[in-house]
Amino acid sequence: MAAIITLDDVSVTFHEAGRAIEAVRHVSLEVEQGEIFGIVGFSGAGKSTLVRTINLLERPTSGRVLIDGRDITGLKGGALRDLRKSVGFVFQGFNLIGNATVGANIEFALRAGGVPKARRRERTRELLELVGLAGKMDSYPSSLSGGQKQRVSIARALANNPRILLCDEATSALDLETTEGILALLKRINTELGVTIVFITHQLEVAQRVFDRVAVMEDGAIIEQGTTFDVFAEPRHGTTQALVERFLGVAIPERLVPQLPAGRLVELRYKGDHAFEPLISAVSNRHGVAVNVLHGNVEYFGTQPIGTLVVLVSAIREGQRGARDVEAALDELRGKVFGFQELTDAAVEDALGAQYSGGAHGTGQGTTRREVLV
């Protein structure tokens, strides 16, 4: 697999009110032909600026951008416009021409691509069919839902058969169900048309569903990258861990906590095939302890699962012997899973404290979310 996009030590610095802001700092990465490459990070990390360097909406202050091995960083005029025709861009805010029909919005791109007038309407029809909006040609964007608007903007981005599609938070303005539809469409465009996709998002559920590989950005720099499963199964950097924790984060039912029997509360995380091993009952039988599952969750990254369990391990035998049983059971668990964290009373109280003292916060949900790093 060859790299279709190469960023070579790219930096972007803005000058605002006499102050230099380094939005992107020395980023190097390669996107391979035909993959869906994700860039995730909290907002303000520089993701949008970075993706804009790929079609030179933002010019790197230093470094090079290569497409198919060709340095495009210095392109101007007609050559730059030709490049942009081969790179589609989908925005968070759709950015359609509101006073033009859906058809006219797409024809705008076709005209830019030099498609003769006679062919444009036909091609527009094809594109609308592709994105599932046949029959909306003469509607105005204001009459469409958010998901439909995003479909129009995807059709516009695909008008000139680009080999690359850049998506900047393309689903962040949409509700969950609409997001699913848009992701399915993008996935189809990726597999059926072979379009390489670079997708910026802060939503891990998007990353989890469609990304082949992912880079995590913070403060303008890439802090971690790899296959989506590897990065999220074993996040090494604090920010990645925080992102993952926010996503997989454990919810202990609030009203359960005061009633918990004596025992030790642990959070286990396991990945891959281990997720299906009957670990809990094996440990429970072998060591003669009671294992109470308080919370369980399995998330799939591509086809690979990451499981999270919160269990309460309690002794069955009395006194010292019981305590030893629990200790042995915890040891075995620790050895079998890849993420093990004992939740001390303090940790639980920490997690719940905000709710008990904070009043309104969280009472509607009835659960608490723990933000502890793996």
């Binding site: 909406l57 030709d82 925005f91 516009r156 000139n160």
Partner: protein
């Protein structure tokens, strides 16, 4: 009272026609050249297009300079120039020139702000398609700015109608001239009232038509 009718009958048609030509010519000139200046102002300050602070500052200064003169003073300043161009400045043609010169910077700022209102995200999207500048302006910026643009034309016409009365006071004709000459100098209050009513109706009509038109292009 019969005097009023006579005066109106004899002079109103011509006065109205003169006003319409002066305002019409000035509006067309103002919209054409004002839009051109607005495009220059807009492009030279938009990061995505051709930012050029020098050109932007120079054009902006020229526009502001003309706009900073009250119309009556501009008119007085322009009289020698108009004289040079067409000989007699105290004619509807002379008035049209003065009004046109006032209209250009006036409309330039209106059109510039209409362009500036266009969502920068839309510009990014248009640029991302690889469209040339001309297509981006005509196919994306202009359709989005059109409703504001139309309202701006209405504002310009109404302002020019007001200015045309001042042109009238120095004898360039039009209904302002009529109102001053007969209504004021000769104490023909009826003429004055008739012209006031006419102006009120005219402005209402222009505003109404403009609003409808602007709405038609808003989707």
């Amino acid at each position: 009272m019969s005097g009023t009718w006579e005066i109106l009958h004899d002079h109103l048609g011509k006065a109205l026609w003169d006003t319409c030509t002066m305002v019409g010519i000035a509006t067309v000139v103002g919209v054409v050249f004002g839009t051109a200046l607005a495009v220059v102002l807009y492009l030279t300050q938009a990061r995505l297009f051709t930012p050029n602070r020098l050109v932007n500052t120079i054009v902006g200064f020229a526009v502001n300079a003309i706009r900073s003169l009250p119309f009556l003073i501009l008119l007085v300043v322009l009289i020698p120039l108009i004289q040079l161009c067409i000989g007699d400045p105290y004619t509807p043609a002379g008035g049209a020139i003065a009004l046109s010169i006032a209209a250009i910077p006036f409309f330039a700022r209106i059109a510039e702000s209409a362009f500036a209102e266009v969502d920068p995200g839309l510009l990014e999207a248009a640029v991302s398609t690889g469209a040339p500048l001309r297509q981006i302006i005509s196919g994306a910026v202009f359709p989005q700015a059109l409703p504001s643009f139309i309202r701006g034309i209405v504002l310009t016409v109404i302002s020019l109608l007001g200015y045309s009365a001042m042109v009238g006071t120095i004898g360039a004709g039009g209904i302002g001239d009529l109102a001053i000459q007969y209504g004021y100098n000769r104490y023909e209050t009826g003429v004055l009232i008739a012209i006031v009513v006419l102006l009120v109706l005219l402005v209402q009509l222009i505003q109404w038509a403009g609003d409808r038109l602007a709405l038609r292009f808003t989707h």
